[in-house]
């Protein structure tokens, strides 16, 4: 008992990892290991209530359920299919047509919904069967779906960016805009690798769509394609906070589905609300119970102690970025995105600021890194979703995935070491950051 009382922090982290390993829900593992800390240090247990409520009591975090709800409504109203048609008429004629369509669809969807997993499920259901019919191997179709779905949270709006912004008191707007150029780089990179595959493996292409067809597809999708303009434009002009922009996106999507396309009925709304609560609670229950955990890390001055150690051993910011990226990629193999953001942010963000690294730049790098981690086995949400929806085995999937994985890593390396790629857009739109 004395040993535990002398090393409460070590005990807490040990308990956290043990619990995580035996399938205790992450939120419960965080809660109970922190409670153990409070008990051995003889602190007041009531802290758990205060930290839980104060972590949830945040207007910024409300953007998360709103973006999820907008995505749910979008999928129910058939808007996603309209976007796929647009992508088809635009890039279907390039060699490897449908694979390009897949990438461009992911880009368009990413601009409207904040949830990568539901985007991936959607494109997977619609496009993988069509691609297979046109001669693409099914694992290839699944791989390009998963790889391009990682763009979802990089291109705004983005749930992980809201999380990073809220936890570290950063501007969510800047993080959103910071993702624009990296997201487009990912689109370009993935289309390049698809093109190379298409030549080598002789993939099909569609005939070129006529201008009239492109016009019709655009006309059918023009109203939903205004959504990103409303979200980003509203934030750019300072009309809305990100949370307000998200609720406006919900209202606009509901209006399109209910009044314009007439595809959303009352029971859809109920179902969408319930799904939203389910997904939100899964994310935010972790955020809630991480409150006490974070409080303890602060009380134990973990940041200060790690900082001293780091500054003695790691000299340059470039080296620190490399180490952190490798650490995140490794952890991303085992832990999911939300857990890692919630767990690491309170320690990592103060550290990188010691090295003069811009937190907006680092936030975008971190989210992209962790999204790539969602692809890697053994624990990769994106891969799980795609594998189960497309009904593909892991080994052939990974065989097709690795070149795309390398492309994504190349983008990660580029935005890590060229901060301009991240920061130029938010700086141009919102002005240079002060300080």
């Amino acid at each position: 008992m004395d040993f535990l009382a002398d090393h409460p922090l070590e005990m807490m982290i040990g308990l956290l990892l043990t619990q995580m390993a035996i399938r205790v829900p992450i939120a419960v593992a965080m809660g109970m290991s922190s409670v153990a800390y409070l008990i051995v240090t003889d602190s007041n247990l009531v802290l758990i209530i205060q930290t839980t409520v104060s972590n949830l009591n945040s207007f910024t975090l409300l953007a998360i359920p709103f973006f999820i709800l907008a995505g749910e409504l979008m999928n129910m109203s058939g808007i996603s299919e309209r976007l796929i048609t647009v992508a088809k008429t635009l890039v279907g004629h390039i060699r490897g047509g449908l694979a390009h369509v897949n990438v461009v669809t992911s880009t368009l969807l990413a601009g409207m919904s904040g949830s990568a997993a539901s985007d991936a499920a959607m494109t997977c259901r619609v496009l993988v069967p069509v691609m297979e019919k046109e001669g693409y191997p099914r694992p290839y179709a699944a791989a390009i779906t998963a790889a391009s779905a990682t763009m979802g949270p990089i291109i705004p709006p983005s749930i992980p960016m809201v999380l990073v912004g809220a936890i570290n008191s950063l501007s969510v707007g800047r993080l959103f805009f910071g993702g624009v150029m990296p997201g487009l780089l990912m689109t370009a990179g993935l289309m390049a690798i698809v093109y190379w595959h298409a030549i080598r493996r002789d993939f099909q292409r569609d005939r070129r769509a006529t201008l009239a067809e492109i016009g019709r597809a655009l006309k059918d999708a023009v109203l939903p394609m205004l959504t990103p303009l409303i979200i980003l434009g509203g934030m750019m002009g300072g009309f809305f906070t990100p949370t307000e922009a998200a609720v406006v996106a919900v209202a606009y999507t509901a209006f399109l589905g209910a009044a314009v396309y007439r595809t959303i009925r009352m029971h859809h709304v109920y179902e969408a609300l319930l799904n939203t609560v389910g997904i939100t609670a899964r994310i935010m229950f972790i955020v809630a119970l991480a409150g006490l955990f974070g409080w303890i890390l602060t009380a134990e001055q973990v940041v200060g102690r790690t900082g001293e150690f780091l500054q003695a051993n790691v000299q340059s910011p470039a080296l620190l970025l490399l180490y952190l990226n490798l650490l995140f990629l490794f952890l991303g193999c085992f832990l999911n995105l939300v857990t890692l953001i919630v767990l690491l942010s309170p320690v990592v963000f103060p550290l990188i600021e010691l090295y003069g690294i811009d937190p907006i730049h680092f936030g975008v790098v971190m989210v992209l890194n962790l999204m790539i981690g969602q692809l890697t086995p053994p624990v990769g949400l994106m891969s799980f979703v795609v594998l189960s929806v497309a009904d593909v085995k892991l080994t052939p999937f990974l065989k097709e995935l690795w070149p795309m994985f390398l492309v994504l890593l190349a983008v990660l390396a580029a935005i890590t070491y060229v901060p301009w790629l991240v920061l130029s857009v938010p700086d141009a739109i919102m002005g240079e950051r002060l300080g």
Partner: protein, 169 residues
């Protein structure tokens, strides 16, 4: 009887979750509309939306217990045989139950203190916000008890026992 109780709790919880989420959307939308259309911003919308968010996450967490959809890592869990998995599930359930118990206990303990505080803009007492924690933890405990029942039924079921022993060989 227990089936009926379970059904009533399920439906009430779903109804509460959906309507609270709907209310958050409406309140926040009202906030935007108010500012731009009626040019008459009111202070309480932001606050009420946040308070309802506390409720919706806590109630939603209870719903996730029912659906077994909380985020966990089952990498190592899957390496165990059926008997090992049964014991691990029992431990997991007990840890969750302990957390729910602490949230109820401490949540009730803080009530008298919190009852004296009122929110800045809407002037409601903070009891309305903090009570989300013990109430939802109570519903979580309800669903966890049900899981205990399922676990022990599985242990007593001779067929499952046979099955498990076969797997152990």
């Amino acid at each position: 009887m227990t089936k009926l109780l379970r059904r009533v709790v399920d439906l009430t919880l779903d109804g509460l979750c959906a309507s609270t989420m709907g209310a958050i959307v409406l309140v926040t939308f009202f906030q935007v509309g108010n500012r731009y259309i009626l040019q008459y911003p009111v202070g309480w919308t932001d606050e009420i939306a946040r308070f309802l968010a506390v409720w919706v996450v806590m109630l939603g967490a209870a719903r996730c217990v029912r659906e077994d959809s909380h985020i966990y890592i089952d990498l190592f869990f899957n390496l165990f045989g059926p008997r090992g998995q049964w014991w691990l599930s029992l431990i997991v359930n007990t840890l969750f139950m302990a957390l729910a118990g602490i949230l109820i206990w401490q949540g009730l303990k803080i009530m008298p203190v919190i009852g004296k505080q009122t929110a800045a803009a809407s002037r409601i007492t903070m009891t309305w916000v903090y009570s989300a924690v013990p109430v939802a933890a109570g519903i979580i405990a309800f669903y966890l008890i049900e899981r205990y029942v399922v676990l022990f039924k599985a242990a007593r079921n001779p067929k499952a026992q046979e099955h498990r022993e076969m797997d152990l060989d």
